[in-house]
């Protein structure tokens, strides 16, 4: 029963994806940024869709279950990410329209004009997207497997959904994603509210009694460091800062911003989006309830679905599973689309085929959708990292782009050499700390420590090297932000 409900929901979502791209010329601009015609509502759905991923659905409840207090960082960084986005993204949008940007490296190219920096930005973007994509595919495997009562194995579920995903991204580009988001968001909100309200009531007679029982049984679980040893307040502050500054540095976030109709649409979205995370606490409630009802799960990421399966009828498990599957597929589609465009347009063309036409770039990007999809599927099949830790790896990487973006807009003296050295220092530090398992380092989130170093190096080299930078970039004397100010006043 639950299996057929899942199949029906995923089929409906896929059909919407194909219909969305019908009767439109799919050139590169239409495919990647929807022809820059998205209004407030569709834009809201697109950004909210990217925000509400499998990470929120399974990962947040998983950490609430296995770690307790430190999981509260998830409720904090989304609102603060919106604050950062409110001040940065409208300017990025304006510059994007003036310079015809479609991707994040397009911004770096227009501002710094250094091809090494551009190549590195591409590589960082693609490398950060892959764990995020892997997270979605892994989540999908878990959802379909549990929700079908083991009827569909994890591996076949992952393979089929990656196939569907590649097919509708191939056909419709970003428009497919925005319209599937509408279906997915409605299902998700209904499922989250039902789960978060019903589970405490059924087992404890209410949310208050549930917390009273939890505090009695596990007094330390709900404050930091909760069930962990080293995730205390220092870790919380540094992780919230890293995640909120990195929030709009994702290459797909840039691409979404470029698809807005106006800068005002982006601003209004940033104002409203924190309210959207009001449904997240309900998912936390389910994770906390699971601590008492199904203790001792080896994999915390399974806690939410285990609770649903134990509590609700099979058809509801199907609805939640179908919503969850779309929740993974929508962001995965955006991620794969972005990474493919980055590769074709900003890495391959400048390096190997400068004369390539936009049409051929679009064709190469579509082929890359399939290749990147399959590569991440491979990672997902052979990995067992927890969903939250995958996202934190992605953030440690992508947040390193923040100094280049924010100084590029607001500080005229930022140079290509400065940003490039800062980025290299940041990435090298983050990668070596993460790979040697030194995260957190002295209580601090390793990615945040790397970001501080990155900022320092960027500013220092930019100050010292104003003269030396001229050999790197002809365009640094007139940064895009500056051009823009002149234009309007």
């Amino acid at each position: 029963m639950s299996l057929w409900v899942i199949v029906a929901i995923v089929a409906l979502g896929t059909a919407i994806g194909f219909l969305a791209g019908r009767r439109r010329e799919m050139d590169l601009e239409q495919w990647t940024v929807g022809g820059r015609r998205f209004g407030a509502v569709l834009m809201y759905m697109l950004l909210a869709g990217e925000l509400y991923t499998t990470f929120a659905f399974l990962g947040a409840s998983g950490w609430a279950y296995s770690r307790g207090g430190p999981s509260l960082y998830i409720l904090a960084y989304i609102s603060l990410g919106c604050v950062v986005s409110f001040f940065i993204m409208p300017r990025i949008w304006e510059l994007g329209r003036r310079h015809g940007m479609q991707t994040q490296p397009d911004f770096f190219a227009a501002r710094y004009g250094n091809r090494f920096l551009n190549g590195l930005v591409c590589v960082v973007g693609i490398a950060a997207v892959i764990p995020y994509l892997q997270l979605q595919i892994e989540g999908l495997g878990i959802i379909v497997n549990v929700a079908s009562f083991g009827g569909i194995g994890r591996a076949p579920a992952m393979v089929v959904s990656v196939g569907l995903l590649v097919a509708f991204v191939w056909a419709s580009g970003i428009r497919a994603v925005a319209w599937i988001s509408v279906l997915k968001d409605i299902l998700m909100i209904v499922a989250a509210l039902a789960i978060g309200i019903a589970i405490p009531h059924i087992y404890f007679g209410g949310i208050g009694p549930m917390f009273a029982a939890l505090l009695h049984a596990r007094p330390g679980h709900l404050t930091m460091p909760g069930a962990t040893k080293n995730l205390d307040h220092t870790w919380y502050v540094s992780t919230v800062l890293l995640s909120s500054l990195g929030y709009c540095m994702w290459p797909h976030y840039f691409a979404s911003a470029f698809s807005a109709r106006s800068a005002d649409v982006i601003r209004r979205n940033a104002v409203i989006l924190p309210l959207y995370s009001l449904t997240l606490p309900f998912i936390f409630f389910a994770g906390f309830a699971a601590v008492l009802i199904v203790p001792g799960l080896a994999d915390g990421d399974l806690s939410l679905l285990t609770m649903i399966r134990k509590t609700f009828p099979a058809w509801f498990l199907g609805v939640a599973g179908g919503a969850g599957a779309l929740t993974a597929m929508v962001p995965a589609a955006v991620l794969v689309l972005t990474a493919a465009t980055l590769f074709a347009k900003n890495l391959f063309r400048p390096a190997f085929a400068p004369t390539m036409s936009d049409d051929r770039v679009a064709r190469l990007a579509r082929i890359m959708v399939a290749i990147i999809g399959i590569a991440s599927l491979g990672f997902a099949l052979f990995s067992s990292a927890s969903l939250v830790s995958l996202l934190l790896i992605g953030y440690a990487g992508v947040a390193q782009l923040f100094p280049g973006v924010v100084l590029g807009i607001f500080w005229r003296r930022a140079t290509a050499a400065g940003v490039l050295s800062g980025l290299v220092a940041g990435i090298a530090t983050a990668a070596s700390l993460l790979l040697t398992h030194h995260d957190p380092i002295l209580g601090w989130n390793a990615g945040f420590a790397a970001l501080c170093l990155n900022f320092g190096v960027t500013i220092f080299v930019s100050f010292r090297g104003s003269a030396a930078s001229s050999e790197f970039a002809g365009r640094t004397d007139e940064p895009v932000g500056w051009q823009f100010t002149k234009h309007h006043t």
């Binding site: 509260l72 909120s244 800068a263 924190p274």
Partner: protein
């Protein structure tokens, strides 16, 4: 479009103080709000307060921009 005004930036800083830097003061269980531990209730309240701050910043920036166009 000019760089954001000082007032708007200050409004943007408020949620950072409330949600992030003050964690040691509100990461506690009591008093419970509607049965929800204080730290969780605090963060839920800030989702609404954050939107209010940004809304005020939005009004401020908009007023400034339309004012700028008017004098031109």
């Amino acid at each position: 479009m000019r760089p954001p005004s000082v007032g708007a930036l200050m409004l943007g800083l408020v949620p950072f103080v409330g949600i992030c830097f003050t964690v040691r003061f509100w990461d506690r269980l009591e008093p419970r709000v509607l049965g929800i531990p204080f730290n969780l209730a605090w963060l839920i309240a800030w989702m609404v307060l954050c939107t209010l701050c940004l809304w005020a910043a939005y009004r401020m920036e908009n007023a400034r921009e339309s004012g700028g166009h008017g004098t031109r």
